[in-house]
């Protein structure tokens, strides 16, 4: 609206055509890339008066190098073998490097394939269109290293699917994930973001189409090394009767912005979101969540917890929107911030936009320090200060951590403990 192009900032997207051709993409895919490129040429950054970017400088997410240039990289990232996975995919160095599917899942028709050559039935770019924002547009124009996960109708998987995106070896990582959950399917998917080192920047987009009556558990776990700047956007679209549970765990990187949410498009759809963000030192974490109720009798519930140590800073903005035609819906949203040090800062903007009267809706937000009475109580029972504090933080984060698959949870608990040791 009032945003002006910043003449000093632009993004080079010179080789969109060569990229699409080299990757063997269809004409439709190229058209989408070109549409996205045109949206950011010239680059207009968002107006910071709007809350979505009030606390985080969008300029930090503008790539310096041209992300459409494929850098020839050698990847030596080994896949940590894990038991009890239905399937696994590894994206690293700008390409899908490894896919594993166990026999049961393969027989059931589960597909994990390179997104560049996959038939996506127009779903790519439909849940997170390039118009969503400049970071999403850059990803859409330049993405390489993508995976399609398709679970056919009626298929229930006992074990989780794991997608790992490793940020390394190239200056800009632009991974893309598309998940298609067939009608009545039921499974769990963990998308993990790790790595660091060379890359200055990660701009990732994930789209999840949840079919009618499907039940999907999805975790977005961010454990980048220090120094990484990253922006991840994830959107799910829920058809009639679908149930979508999202866990958000944010720990790594130096500057992180996440934009996650669900569109409740079919009657009776339900979305739950549990989020944990733990920042330390000088980390800057910015989370935006969105629940858009577009159909009748939809239900959403969100619990987002933030614990900060050091001079970490967290910004949280959450939007619940209930459309005029979404009568009979319910939406709940809670954001709690625990400040464990004097220099930590938290911002919270939980928002509601309710366009019809037949709703039940509430939200709450709190910011508070460690409860000294609880610490005192635990210490009086002989626990050292550090352990008392850790127990309280675990209690604070516990409900959310419980939702994560066991292996991920253990890893995150270790991260929580090490973060607390720093204090």
């Amino acid at each position: 609206m009032s945003a002006q192009p910043n003449p000093t900032l632009s993004v080079a997207l010179e080789h969109v055509e060569e990229l699409a051709r080299g990757l063997g993409e269809s004409g439709d895919a190229l058209a989408l890339r070109e549409r996205a490129r045109d949206l950011v040429t010239p680059l207009v950054l968002p107006d910071r008066a709007r809350h979505l970017w009030r606390y985080t400088n969008p300029e930090r997410f503008v790539p310096v190098a041209d992300p459409t240039v494929l850098a020839p990289v050698a990847i030596a990232h080994e896949w940590p073998r894990e038991d009890d996975l239905a399937a696994a995919a590894l994206i690293a160095g700008g390409a899908l490097r490894m896919v594993e599917i166990d026999d049961t899942a393969r027989r059931a028709g589960v597909v994990i394939e390179d997104l560049h050559r996959a038939a996506t039935d127009g779903l790519l770019g439909s849940l997170v269109p390039p118009e969503h924002g400049f970071a999403e547009a850059i990803n859409t124009a330049a993405w390489h290293g993508g995976v399609l996960v398709r679970v056919p109708a009626g298929v229930e998987l006992e074990h989780p699917i794991r997608v790992r995106c490793v940020a390394s070896a190239e200056p800009v990582s632009v991974p893309r994930v598309l998940v298609v959950a067939g009608a009545g399917s039921a499974f769990e998917l963990v998308e993990g973001h790790v790595g660091g080192g060379v890359p200055a920047l990660v701009l990732g987009v994930t789209e999840i189409a949840v079919g009618p009556d499907a039940r999907v558990r999805y975790s977005l776990v961010q454990r980048w090394d220090a120094g990484v700047t990253g922006h991840l956007t994830a959107r799910a679209r829920l058809e009639r009767g679908a149930h979508f549970q999202m866990s958000l765990a944010s720990f790594g990187g130096s500057l992180y912005k996440a934009d996650v949410g669900a569109v409740l498009a079919g009657e009776g759809a339900q979305a739950e979101m549990f989020g944990v963000s733990m920042g330390g030192e000088k980390q800057h974490m910015d989370h935006h969540t969105e629940h858009l109720h577009e159909a009748r009798k939809t239900h959403s519930n969100l619990d987002f917890k933030v614990a900060l140590t050091g001079a970490a800073r967290s910004a949280y903005t959450g939007m619940i929107r209930i459309a005029h035609d979404a009568g009979g819906s319910e939406a709940y949203q809670v954001n709690r911030n625990l400040l464990l040090s004097e220099d930590a800062r938290a911002e919270s903007i939980p928002e509601l936009e309710i366009l019809t009267d037949d709703v039940r809706c509430s939200h709450g937000a709190t910011v508070a320090p460690l409860d000294e009475e609880q610490v005192f109580y635990l210490k009086s029972r002989g626990l050292p200060h550090f352990q008392a504090m850790r127990l309280i933080v675990y209690g604070f984060l516990g409900q959310t951590l419980q939702r994560l698959p066991a292996t991920t949870r253990e890893r995150i608990e270790a991260l929580v403990a090490s973060r607390l040791h720093e204090e």
Binding site: A49, L352, A365, T366
Partner: protein
């Protein structure tokens, strides 16, 4: 927008440059639109000191330079045509509206609310003065004895220039936002109150009591200073609909509560439904001071108003208690701000809104705790009641916390006028319209009970009127 004279030109040679020697004549010739000439003429007509004239011109440049807000109801804001607004009216012109021109519905509302005849004409803009001499006389005597200054802002500037110069625009600088800049350039009327140390003003001061003509200007400017240990309650507006042909009302209200002082500022806004009500209200609370905004928004087409309290001194306390009623086509975009600068300051924000039919109410708030503001506490509670499937409510709270040793709580609830509550009341033989009214009255009761008796009675009648035709 065309180029405008810059600050350097200000206050130098307007007279010779534009050749208008008689402001009266000027306003007779050029009644609409905004320019440095208009500002110059307003200042000349009021015989203001140079510093105020320069302040106005500088503010106008700020107004020109600032863009319209890019947030809020931008579609409605875009309807404002600044060139079609009359920025200043001579008192004689104000009386030119005839009673016959006052819309029927406004007259009917006066009837229903039981507003006295003389008062009606004043409220409808037919008479510029409200004859409250008798009441006012005794009030005035009492105030004079206490050393309380209670004047309209224009007289305040004339009679107490030293105080005005010291505090004017110190809480809300002209450049605060586009509309405070506009007000700063063309302000007229409003109240000026100074309460001396350790003085308690026993009765609520009401703009009513003031005899001067400038009570309800479009661009009123109010400044209240409560000196150490004093206490004052000011009431602005009233429940009766205020009819005006002007489409824009943009006030600036500054409150300064010195150490240990207590200011309560009550507003009930019921502008006619064609009016944009874009108001900046802010208070500074020094050590141990208490500031309370009690804010009711019933009228107007679009209201944007977020009473703020800057908790500057240790242990200061701020409260904002507000209700908004958005009927068909209205947008009440209201809220509150609490800025905690000093340690051990506390604040409480309670917001209740009702959206009926196509009405939209928005809570927009800010709670900020600066680094070093140890031991602060705040709690924000927003309740929205929706009546009708086309009604809309939004909640946009913002919390910015830079200190760990604090407690911040925010809670919001949205509900519709409940079928169960209705059923319960109807099962006890209460008619549906009565039952709805009872529920709404119960919902806003915490607000009503903070009002002086006569206002509470009027507000209840008003809500009754607003609720008419809401069944079904």
């Amino acid at each position: 927008m065309a180029a405008h004279p810059t600050v350097a030109d200000i206050g130098t040679d307007y007279l010779s440059k534009y050749g208008f020697h008689d402001p009266e004549e000027y306003f007779a010739r050029a009644p609409k639109g905004l320019s440095h000439e208009v500002v110059e003429m307003i200042s000349l007509l009021k015989k203001e000191p140079d510093w105020m004239r320069a302040f106005r011109h500088k503010a106008l440049d700020t107004f020109y330079a600032k863009p319209m807000p890019t947030w809020g109801d931008t579609a409605m804001l875009a309807e404002i045509d600044f060139d079609q607004i009359t920025y200043y009216l001579r008192a004689t012109e104000k009386q030119e509206t005839s009673w016959d021109e006052v819309p029927e519905n406004v007259k009917r509302t006066f009837d229903r609310l039981g507003i006295p005849e003389a008062e009606r004409k004043f409220l409808a803009g037919v008479s510029a003065q409200y004859e409250s001499e008798v009441v006012y006389h005794s009030v005035k005597e009492e105030l004079t004895k206490q050393g309380v200054i209670f004047l309209d802002m224009d007289s305040g500037l004339r009679e107490h220039e030293d105080i005005v110069k010291k505090y004017f625009a110190t809480v809300i600088p002209a450049a605060d936002n586009k509309f405070s800049a506009l007000n700063s350039a063309v302000w007229s009327g409003g109240s000026f109150i100074y309460v001396p140390k350790n003085t308690e003003v026993a009765i609520p001061l009401q703009a009513y009591f003031r005899i001067n003509a400038e009570r309800m200007g479009q661009f009123e400017r109010t400044l209240i200073i409560a000196d150490e240990g004093s206490k004052v309650h000011y009431i602005e507006g009233c429940t009766a609909p205020v009819y005006s042909t002007h489409s824009l009302h943009s006030a600036v209200v500054e409150l300064i509560a010195m150490k240990g002082a207590h200011i309560r500022y009550t507003t009930i806004q019921n502008w006619a439904n064609n009016i944009f009500n874009l108001v900046t209200k802010r208070a500074v609370a020094n050590e141990d001071a208490v500031v309370e905004w009690v804010d009711g928004n019933i009228g107007s087409k679009l209201t944007m108003k977020y009473p703020a309290i800057i908790l500057k001194g240790e242990r200061a306390h701020g409260e904002v208690l507000s209700i908004a009623f958005a009927g068909p086509g209205q947008h009440q975009d209201a809220g509150a701000k609490a800025i905690h600068l000093a340690p051990n300051t506390t604040s409480k924000i309670t917001s209740k809104s009702i959206s009926r039919d196509t009405g939209r109410s928005t809570y927009r708030g800010l709670v900020k705790m600066r680094k070093g503001a140890h031991g602060c506490k705040t709690s924000v509670q927003c309740d929205a009641l929706l009546i009708g499937s086309a009604a809309r409510t939004d909640t946009y709270p913002t919390m910015e916390i830079a200190e760990d040793d604090v407690r911040v709580e925010h809670e919001a609830r949205v509900s519709k006028l409940g079928d169960e509550q209705l059923f319960y009341l109807r099962s006890r033989g209460i008619r549906e319209d009565k039952a709805r009214l009872m529920i709404v009255n119960g919902f806003i009761e915490p607000f009503v009970k903070e009002l002086p008796m006569e206002y509470a009675v009027e507000l209840n009648r008003l809500i009754e009127l607003e609720m008419e035709g809401s069944v079904g």
